[in-house]
């Protein structure tokens, strides 16, 4: 069964049509590279899946369950195992790591008071076992602002792993990162794949999407314009195909 199935999804913001009848699916244990220019509709599509936006018409199924656009929100998506890591919006940098890990899903007593020692203990375990943060001098009490860009993405992805999400959506996770940091993020994506999870990876950088993706979906002006399986296309061919699509748009 597909994790997400979308049929003929439409979404407008005022008079602007952001999505015009998009069909899209994410299979189990599949990594999808979602490609397209700025304003193509990639972010709108993933924000609908992650519950930030609703859709105007069409059908969406998550793990076979039909989703009502009115009832779908971020919390509902979390409960169904969908986690999204938004570029620049993944973590709050003046807060400690343990608070960022458990935000929105705090371990509390009945009155809503946080069990701090338990959250700190769990964060230390996550750092050891999932983030593999060793020797960088960061602990559960560290503030996010002290971490590098790659480490921050690692924290957000590890958070998704910890909550055992079936689908992790990454929105431009490697923007403004050094090559070494990009590698760290790609390693996290591979770790997700190894654990049997699915992932949607949005990026402008085809070179970084290519090695970790099973399938590529290209979006342009609110429509899915092309789909390729990795075994059917080389990096160079994918690059050429996307350039052709861009030129078709220009001329």
């Amino acid at each position: 069964m597909n994790i997400v199935e979308m049929k003929d999804i439409h979404k407008s913001f005022g008079g602007v049509k952001a999505l015009k009848g998009v069909d899209f699916h994410i299979g189990p244990n599949e990594v999808i590279g979602l490609l397209g220019d700025n304003g193509a509709g990639k972010s709108t599509l993933i924000k609908i899946i992650s519950g930030v936006h609703t859709f105007d018409s069409g059908e969406m199924y998550i793990k076979g369950r039909k989703i009502s656009p009115r009832r779908h929100n971020v919390k509902a998506a979390h409960k169904m195992g969908i986690e999204t890591v938004f570029q620049e919006k993944a973590l709050a940098e003046k807060q400690q790591l343990w608070r960022n890990i458990f935000l929105g899903r705090q371990i509390t007593n009945k009155l809503g008071f946080i069990k701090v020692s338990q959250e700190v203990k769990e964060t230390n375990r996550i750092m050891r076992e999932l983030m593999k943060f060793r020797g960088i001098g960061a602990g559960a009490d560290s503030f996010v602002r002290t971490l590098s860009g790659g480490e921050r993405q690692g924290v957000a992805i590890s958070r998704a792993m910890y909550f055992d999400s079936d689908l992790v959506i990454l929105d431009e996770p490697t923007v403004a990162l050094s090559l070494q940091e990009v590698k760290k993020v790609l390693d996290f994506i591979l770790a997700l794949k190894e654990r049997g999870k699915s992932c949607v990876y949005i990026s402008h950088s085809i070179a970084s999407v290519y090695p970790v993706s099973d399938r590529f979906v290209a979006i342009d002006r609110g429509e899915v314009v092309a789909e390729y399986k990795r075994e059917e296309i080389s990096l160079e061919e994918l690059n050429e195909e996307l350039i052709k699509l861009t030129q078709a748009k220009i001329f």
Binding site: A90, A92, Q95, Q106, F113, I114
Partner: protein, 299 residues
């Protein structure tokens, strides 16, 4: 910094500042500004501002005074008073979070609106209430071995607010909204309700401060709360809360309230003219904010 200020006062006027009387006087007057400063700490930590709370304090206290004088029912008066403060706060929060008007503009308007409303319904006339000698007077502003009860209430509320901000989901959400509103929203925090809740808390605390002030003075004045706005902001900033949101210090505000509250009495006791109060308070705020900024940069 607080110890430096106290030390300066002791050196300049040992006759006043080496005797306990002045400190008991601070313990009686500071809680009024301190309770509101605690509420403002939440608002600033959330990256917003509230300019309307002195007017909210006046309106709520007026309702308390008239209902109590008319019925003698403390609980009814108290409930209506706090309820009015919460409603004003919720209205602020709704306009800020749901409609999207900047809080500085909304609360500036609300400040005039609420002050105007309390003037209209009171006809600008003071209300004298016989509170001295009642059980509620003893509980709220009585004395425990010379310590004014309101100081103990203030300490209790400070401890509660500390746990609410740093150990409760609500407080954590407030700081995340102040730090990175979009990240908070993306992680499932209901930003609209958090903002409405924080403004409601501010309104409720302003009403509570109004009750304490009313019990202390025994009279409601139409100008109640005037002059508190800048003092309270100063107390919060001196205490180390950032105006950029995401960082707040409850115990800093507690200490800041005493520092700002002690300033006027200290300056006058030191033999300086009252005119120096603003100058020295301003100097203190600027120094404190510079120190906090430098410390944050080092972190």
């Amino acid at each position: 910094m607080m110890s430096l200020v106290v030390l300066a006062f002791i050196i300049t006027s040992p006759g006043v500042f080496l005797k306990p009387g002045i400190y008991f006087s601070f313990l009686a007057s500071v809680p009024t500004i301190g309770i509101m400063a605690l509420g403002l700490t939440f608002i600033l930590g959330m990256g917003e501002i509230d300019l309307s709370f002195p007017s909210t304090m006046a309106l709520s206290a007026y309702l308390f005074a008239t209902i109590y004088r008319g019925t003698g029912n403390f609980f009814l008066a108290f409930l209506v008073c706090i309820g009015a403060g919460v409603i004003v706060g919720m209205t602020n929060g709704f306009i800020v979070a749901k409609i999207g008007v900047p809080s500085i503009v909304v609360t500036l308007g609300m400040q005039y609106l609420v002050r105007g409303l309390s003037n209209l319904i009171s006809d600008g006339v003071a209300v004298v209430v016989r509170l001295r000698g009642t059980l509620s007077h003893q509980i709220l502003v009585g004395r425990f071995f010379d310590i004014p009860h309101q100081a103990l209430w203030f300490l209790g509320i400070t401890i509660f607010m500390f746990f609410l901000l740093y150990r409760h989901k609500f407080g954590e959400h407030v700081l995340f909204v102040g730090d990175n509103q979009e990240a908070a929203r993306m992680m499932g925090v209901n930003v609209v309700w958090i903002k409405i809740g924080a403004f409601a808390l501010m309104g409720g605390l302003a009403a509570l401060a109004g009750v304490f002030d009313l019990y202390r003075m025994g009279t409601w004045w139409p100008t109640m709360g005037d002059g508190y706005l800048m003092m309270i902001m100063a107390a919060v900033f001196v205490g180390g809360t950032s105006m950029f949101g995401g960082e707040a210090s409850i115990f800093g505000t507690f200490a800041g309230s005493f520092m700002i509250g002690a300033m006027e009495a200290g300056i006058v006791a030191a033999g300086l003219k009252g005119f120096w109060t603003r100058f020295i308070t301003g100097l203190l705020i600027i120094c404190a904010v510079i120190v906090h900024t430098l410390v944050r940069k080092k972190k």
